[in-house]
Amino acid sequence: MDPGSAAGSGGTFLSLSDSEQRCYSGLYALCQPDSLGNPAAGKVADLFRASQLPAETLHQVTEVCGAKRLGFFGCGQLYVALKLMAAAQAGLPVRLESITGELPLPVFVGITNELEMRYANHPSANESQPHILGSGPGSAPRPPADRPVPRHPDTSMDKQEAWSPPRSPGVSPPRSPSAYRNYPYAAQRNGTDTLLAYDGKVPSRPSVPQENSSPSHYSLKPQPEPPVITRAGSVERLVERAEADYSDDPWRITEEQREYYTIQFRSLQPDLSALIVGTVAKNFFTKSKLPIPELSHIWELSDVDKDGALTFPEFCTAFHLIVARKNGFLLPETLPATLRPGFVEPGVVTAPPSEATQPLIVFDDNMRPGANQLEMCSSGLQMTSRPGVTAKQDTRDESRKPEFSPKRIPDLHEKPIQRVSTLKPDSPQELDANMKSRTRPRSYSSTSIDDAMKKVEEPPTPPPRPQKTHSRASSLDLNKLFQQSSQGGKSVWLPPPPALPPRPPAAQIFSFMPGSEKSSQKAVHQPNFADFSKFSEEQETIVTAALSTEDLAPKSDSTVVQQGHAPQKPVRRKLHPESLSATPPLTTPYSAATMTKPTQRPPPKQKREIQMAIRKNRETNAVLTRLNSELQQQLKVVHRERVTLESQLELLRPVAST
């Protein structure tokens, strides 16, 4: 529960400005709230004394804020009391009416509260800045952004496991903005500098057992004070030096912060140029105990390329936003310029900005590092995170390419990686994983789906074709031949051709194999014979490869062939009239275009390529059919289970109704 709202709900209408809210929540944390969220009475008394108000004023304050009624100081009461004290210090009477307006922050003497100083110097604080007489080091006003700076090195030393609940005595699971501040204050009392509250460990207790800590995402050593103190000294120097460079910009990442973020990134993902997948990042950031909607908002701001994963700069942005939020800064609606991934600080070199600077140039280069990153860490997750999106994405991307090009320019600065991947003119198969994870398939309009479908079907369809040839003749014979050919030599291939002459259409189809579609059937025949010697060699390898990959007996091959029968027959019939009419079948959806050329092209290189493609496609086809059958079986099993469960339910139902 937000202490600010608690104050509001505490019975008094209390409006707090931002700086007031922060100051008060800081002070509230200073008072070491116990498990119920009530500040410790002793600490509250200290605070009252520090305000240097006369005793009777303090009594009045206590009475007005309702603590007297309650008998203790609740969170809301404390807030009201603080504001009343501010009013009193400003000379106003201690009344509820006087605190409804804007007041300067209350002054507390002797409280080592750098937090107040920082809040006092918050850039948005327009009201008069009180003179906070904190005794913190460097009493000159420091920009709030510096606050995270000294914390990181310290926490890097003594941070424990992840953001486990604070372990100081009597502190409940943290309330969102304020709980972490316990540690800073506790630390201050020890004289060390303030800490970031990511750790649950108070630096003054190096020996606190760590049973409660969750598994560490921080690769840091758990140790505490001596390094902290030594670091504190150096940190102060850094801070003071950084002061000179800094404007009051909480959204700028300092070098120390960046180092810290780098360490964190490495703990999640050793490669700095790789991506952190969404769920890993989610678990990590959830430990910060920020509410989920805020984390969601932070994610939206920082994941600029909208790929569901964080690159290193995006991670830094997200981390920085979380730090800022924990320190009380409200999240911006849009990403500040200094936090954009393209924002290059001197000396900071990251991969995405470089890609951003070469948007239209050499997509291949851009794609490869991106591809590597993806394949390394995110492909698996991305596949699961997009259950509904199948390989059709790739084809749609293909089809979307021409439509996407006008978008290229406006999107230039926003999504270089994404654009790159969508514009890459590769075959759909090659970039399967990459396309799926990197590209946002923007082509949901189905106008071109049919074309895309046809494109997808182009590669797989050629494999069945050769089977057609022997399907007519005698598929089983040829399967045996495959077997034999795998054992024997190419002489085995000679029998089939003699069987073919009686069937001109089959021969015609055979002519497809050398990669040509001929007008005259007989003319085809001769070159076929000539070509078969070459083809047989490769066919053997194809077959052996196919057989070995399938791990099945030739039966499966025949089943594949058989399965290939039904879909192939219509195509075959299509081919016949076309071949007979001596027109190249370029118009068929199963475009022989990829496999055949309009005119006969003897060059063996092209044939070999085609044949290799045939082999590959046949393999994929076999794998897919096997997968299909397995899935069908699983479906049957699941269906059976469902039926049994339903029957059980039916049995139980009459029992339950009685």
């Binding site: 969404g278 989610k282 969601s296 939206e300 790929d307 509904g388 923007r442 949901y444």
Partner: protein, 142 residues
């Protein structure tokens, strides 16, 4: 100009509904609800089980005298419904398609957020989604 945009989950409960004239919201909610029947009919009408055989863009679901309702369904059976004012002289089909495309893009952006659980209503905190949908209301051509 679109007057109402709705995102409906697979189980046919709304994830996000926004209408421009905030009066008469109830009427649009009702319209969207009834349009779901038409959507179901269209997507089940395709006999084949293969999703890729089905178009994502469903087209005009039904017209009334005041407005027209267009539908779009994703592969994961999330439905988008856009209600368009009839007085707007013949919004071209392409424009409607582009609106759906933008909507789908914004939706996938929301989906990519690991903090978003699929099936949750899309909070107004998802600023970009809201911003993009609002842009659909006011800009029909991208």
């Amino acid at each position: 100009m679109a007057v109402c945009i709705a995102v409906i989950a697979k189980e046919n409960y709304p994830l996000y509904i926004r209408s421009v004239p905030t009066q008469g919201e109830l009427k649009f909610h009702y319209t969207v609800h009834t349009s779901l029947d038409v959507v179901e009919e269209k997507i089940s009408g395709v006999g084949k089980a293969l999703a890729d055989q089905r178009e994502l863009y469903l087209g005009l679901l039904y017209p009334t005298e005041d407005y027209k309702v267009y539908g779009y369904v994703t592969n994961s059976k999330v439905k988008f419904v856009i209600v368009v004012d009839s007085s707007n002289a013949s919004l071209r089909d392409n424009e409607i398609r582009s609106m759906f495309r933008k909507l789908h893009n914004s939706f996938t952006d929301v989906m990519c957020n690991p903090f978003y659980n699929p099936g949750d209503p899309i909070q107004s905190k998802s600023v970009f989604f809201c911003a993009h949908t609002l842009s659909i209301f006011y800009v029909t051509i991208h």
